[in-house]
Symmetry: C3
Subunit: 433 residues, 3 copies
């Protein structure tokens, strides 16, 4: 395992590179983003789906492109400039090129009085309008008068893009990782998602062996997961045994868990175990707090075993969906913590097994050098965790269940399991799905 | 739905009419009461069961009648007069006509030192005795001396009466409503019961259609329900899918729930949902707090799905079984609240259905005008309840279960269900028993 | 039932007799102890198992004997003398006869700085060493200089002993009681165990009839239970329906419960019911707090239904495994409380039965003189427990389950059950395993 700090720094540098690209549901920004990730991930394949394609109850929207946008005063000074911050324009804005009075313009301006320095992030994918977002403070400085309002955008038939990476394992059972790449310059939601996912994909590519096959997708949120499901549903339903929606995984304030719809999938058990043993104060959300692609992956009848491990959850931190969600909020340490939690979750899925002790009564560990030989008042404490684990190895429980039951991290018990297996005391049967 | 306040006033006026009638387990009072209710409820049939009839472990007692009763002083002044308050005589008192000293009389007097203004309500159905009840304050004023003690009562072979109303529905499955009419002048326990039940029966008679058949009985408590069960047990066991014992439903202090013996019948789930969404502070009693006819309807081996929705529960309010349980304690607003809770419970039983969303992934509500088209930071909140509901419509859950799960009232979700069914997005299958 | 206080005094006097004997895993001390108990328990059979016998993962150790041991100063004064306290020598110490400087001797001394007056209890069964235990205060008084260190012990092939008493009952199903006799002079852990077990065995011998067969063993801890299991496993697995490991049952500070591995055996339910109704503040431990022979009896694949009822649990009281665990800590009242709890547990196992009320609806108890005949506001309270019990007698629940459900002691409901059975109202079916 390479130095943790280095991983965090590397993930943060990727986020910094991706920051200025103007992503949206469709268009040049998402393609540029996928190209960048493709350079990091050999084998990443970019797909395109034509506008107008039906996907369940939805239709792939027209492709949106934007070259420039600004509001200029009568002297020609750009008081709002899309080139300076791509949050300034409502996503999927219609084109406009007009002179208008401030009073008229004002109907197209959006700001947040409670967060006066923040530019809000707003989109209007499925209803036609145009608008500008700006900080409440800046809005207060706009003088009455005429303004030249320009959005040089275009909405026309094109494609929706997403990328997919398949890493084959020993079995055809799959672990599914999904993250999204449709938001402009915001860091926790969303750049943390694709960079941590890329880090995990590189780590998985480097493993000597993988028990499971990994399916990793970079998609636009909502329409992307719906389109992906509509093309792969039967395969996913048959093969996916666990998975995570990877989002909001880069700040360093807390850890959060959002369950699958059933709440008791393998992914849920793993996520809770990892977070409980990473930070016992992690926040537990419920299905009623959902808000990202688990809405599709766990919809009634879809019901893939997908849970979510996050740092500060979308909608729950003040900078969410504003220009304040930036690369200061997301830190190398925050990214590294999120990466590690997800890496551990995957390691548990790979290593989980039913455990069966092979002798009746407690094994005599002393003669194998596994037990202190002097019985004093306190000596029991030293090997307590090992004995507790053994006491549950009855063939009906997995290491994950036992670790949760005795409140010890899976990753600390695993070496003990290896040693007991080596001594012939323990039988291990990997979980078959 | 007619004006709520009007319903409460009407129920209270019926209670006022019924107040002076001297009800008991048997006799003229109960017949007079059933006659009055028969005028309000076309189709109400009065039954009679002869004294001495066996019903399980019980025997229908002799019929009791009382013409007059009093205690007069030596001057002939009636110091206690049954004509003024029918609680003054112990129910089922033997006849007496004697002069006696206060010391002797005192053994037959009952009062409540802790509630000095209250006349207690006492009966002695199954052991022969006589006695008078009076307020503790009045008892203190009795002067020593001789008194003329008269109870002009009679206990002889006769009948026990009860009334029954059957309202046919589309199916032969039945909802069973039971209330009792055997207490003299007390308002919450008991007049609130028969008047709210009568109000519900009139409302059910007025419905355009009823999915279920309604069986509504007005009986004397305990012996009445035992007799009714002994005559109808096999039919009830085969057909009753839910039901309520209706008692103590007229004051306006709180709402209370007492479960069936199993605690998990449809009636229990419905009662809890209605009360949770009427007043989250409602009181939850347990089976160990039982005390009315659920003792028979839910006895081992009987086990009908009968729960109880109340306002202030019998035995739990200070005025219980005293002259203070009067028509000031029971109010139009209190009766209306009790009526509404039970009406909603019945509406839920009628309307409950398994819900199945007919598309995979979330439906695109925007294109149907069901979703705000501008995605801002807060827009999600507006349709949250609808989306939460849809997220559970997987065909395995009823609207009642979903409403309880997402903590929204059934009656607020029902119109949304209707709209989604209309749009062809939702499939509804009524519960079949 | 003889006077409780007399039982406590008798148990304490047995403990006083057994106190000075130097018990260990094997050897003369355990044989002397079993001889003493054999005089109290006709039919008690002592078994011997040769050193070197294999038992699952374990081997019966060599037999240890010790004649004398001391540390003497240059003047020949015994500053530590095994004759004065048999805790002074580490159990299974190798023999030694040497002069050495205090500095060298110090490596073989053990004391407890936090409990400066206590001599610790230490053993080294499975690794060869020698050593002395002494109070920290005494250790501080040792002057530098040369000491004569003598342990006149011997470790050689011999036997391991245990004793067994079988009391036949009406069925071949067995209740298994196990206690241990391998600790030198300590009172709560351990003498309370064998003396309470002996008291229970005498009481069981005196019973007119026993539904179940009782298997009662006095063994050395750990190796003794492993050896016993290895010789009797198939029989125990087929016949044992409940049982208790009897230890730490003599002080009078609290009651404690430690579950079987499954936590839901009959023994667990009984133990919790008895303690809940003996002292609602009893301490509930979990399987993770285990530490005595339940480790073997409930090991994966063994899984006998054995729970533990204690007073102050081993490892949890300050005097544990020191010379402070003496016959002042263990009192007649403490022993009597422990004895009574276990006696009640056994009585429940003997008397537990499924109960089925034989009439539909509530029985009419008034006509049988079981119910007050005057119905006043409070009369219901008097027979509440009886009516609550009857309300659960549906043939699917045992008296133990019902008593726990209605929070009444089994032993107070049992006479009511007897009376109702006598009246023909209740059917009782003893539990068949």
């Amino acid at each position: 395992m390479e130095n943790h700090k280095i991983i965090g720094e590397r993930l943060h540098s990727w986020a910094t590179d991706l920051w200025p690209i103007n992503r949206s549901l469709t268009g040049a920004g998402i393609r540029k983003t996928l190209d960048y990730l493709g350079d990091l991930l050999p084998g990443l394949t970019v797909h395109e789906v034509p506008s107008g394609t039906l996907a369940y109850d939805w239709t792939v929207p027209a492709e949106w492109s934007i070259r420039d946008a600004y509001i200029a005063d009568e002297e020609g000074n750009r008081v709002i400039d899309f080139q300076k911050n791509n949050l300034h324009v409502i996503g999927y804005s219609d084109p406009v090129d007009q002179w208008m009075e401030l009073g008229e313009l004002d109907k197209h301006l959006y700001s947040l009085p409670d967060q006066p320095t923040a530019i809000p992030y707003i989109t209007s994918y499925y209803a036609r309008r145009w608008g500008f977002c700006l900080s409440y403070n800046q809005r207060q400085t706009l003088k009455s008068g005429r303004y030249h309002v320009v959005i040089d955008s275009e909405l026309k038939s094109g494609v929706l893009n997403y990328a997919e990476l398949i890493l084959r394992g020993e079995t055809s059972e799959e672990v599914f990782l999904s993250t999204y790449v449709c938001h402009p310059s915001m860091a926790n939601n969303e750049l943390s998602g694709p960079v941590v996912t890329t880090g995990l994909a590189q780590w998985l590519q480097g493993l000597e062996k993988r028990r499971y096959t990994y399916r990793i997708v970079f998609i636009p949120e909502t329409i992307g997961s719906i389109v992906y499901l509509s093309k792969n549903f039967e395969h996913l339903k048959r093969h996916v045994i666990a998975g995570f929606n990877i989002t909001c995984i880069g700040d360093d304030r807390c850890y959060s868990y959002l369950p699958s719809r059933s709440g008791n999938s393998l992914s849920d058990l793993v996520a809770q175990h990892v977070l409980q043993n990473t930070d016992p104060d992690f926040k537990r959300y419920t299905w009623l707090d959902r808000g990202s692609d688990e809405r599709q992956y766990c919809a009634p009848g879809v019901d893939l075993p997908i849970a979510t491990i996050m740092r500060s959850k979308y909608s729950e931190y003040p900078e969410y969906h504003t220009s304040l969600d930036d690369l200061n909020l997301v830190t190398p340490a925050g990214l590294e913590g999120g990466f590690t939690a997800l890496r551990r979750a995957i390691e548990i899925i790979e290593q989980n097994a039913y455990l069966n002790i092979k002798v009746l009564c407690e094994p005599q560990l002393g003669k194998r050098g596994l037990y202190p030989t002097l019985s004093t008042k306190d000596s029991g404490d030293q090997v307590r965790a090992m004995m507790d684990m053994i006491s549950y190895c009855d063939g009906t429980r997995t290491l994950l269940e036992i670790a949760s039951l005795i409140e010890e991290p899976f990753w600390e018990l695993l070496p003990v399991v290896e040693k007991l297996v080596e001594y012939g005391l323990l039988e291990r049967k990997y979980v078959v799905f």
